[in-house]
Amino acid sequence: MTQEGFNPHILGFFCHWCCYAAADAAGVARYQYPPNVRVIRVMCTGRIDFRFILEGFRCGADGVFTGG
């Protein structure tokens, strides 16, 4: 049931040392990917309290991507 008009709003929690660094590396290499994710940088995935994920969905996220 894909809807053409639907543009998902996705919240991302990225760990500073791994996933955030991978995202920078993708940028340096100019890989292209969809712009739907907005990233919140945390020092480590361990910092992510499950309350943040619940709050993300409560505030209307269609998806939450946690990158370690």
């Binding site: 994920i53 969905f57 209307g60 996220a61 269609d62 998806g63 370690g68």
Partner: protein, 190 residues
């Protein structure tokens, strides 16, 4: 953390596939791009929050998520959550703690308390919302539809809340007791 969220999502009727936990090291730019592209496509497939069949509608989800958040702030739930993490961390042996074993631990030791706290907060929220809409009381049946709790679970819950003086009434109609509720040590959500 991710497993706890998945199991809570099942309770409140949110499709667990909406949440992803992926690993990409600093050197894995290409892998990261693949993960993100696939994930965005998957979410586009699932459609907006609450639109998937089997998922509760958005407004219901929002209320239940708020209930889940309030439950997530209570020391009882957080201690259960912390103790499971402590057990996993101390053994350091991930051969023993396979993913299935971990979800088992979460299901046994965290979910029951989490579910109970969540439902009791959900009930209070339902009553509060009903009051806002000028509806004096809600019946147990209505509360069961709204919260998705089983009947004897709900009865146990309602009698506990009534005993604590937070709510009043009986099966036909329940409502929030007027004076500021004592039992719940709530923190402002901000």
């Amino acid at each position: 953390m991710a497993e706890t969220c998945r199991q809570v999502f099942n309770v409140i009727g949110l499709n667990a596939n909406r949440m992803a936990l992926e690993w990409a090291s600093a050197a894995e730019g290409p892998r990261f791009v693949e993960l993100i592209t696939k994930y965005v496509a998957r979410i586009r497939e699932l459609g907006p929050l609450g639109s998937l069949e089997g998922e509760a509608p958005k407004e219901v989800l929002e209320r239940r998520l708020e209930a889940a958040l309030k439950a997530a702030e209570t020391p009882k739930v957080r201690t259960a959550y912390g103790n499971v993490a402590k057990k996993l961390h101390e053994t350091r042996d991930f051969a023993v703690y396979t993913p299935e074993r971990i979800s088992q631990e979460v299901a046994d030791r965290i979910l029951p308390t989490f579910r109970q706290e969540l439902l009791s907060h959900d009930v209070l929220l339902c009553l509060a919302e009903a009051k806002d809409q000028g509806k004096k009381t809600c019946s147990s049946g209505e509360l069961m539809d709204l919260t998705g709790a089983s009947s004897e679970e709900l009865d146990k819950l309602l009698s506990a809340l009534a005993k604590k003086g937070v709510i009043e009434g009986e099966a036909a109609g329940w409502s929030l007791k007027e004076p500021a509720c004592a039992g719940h040590a709530d923190r402002k959500g901000e």
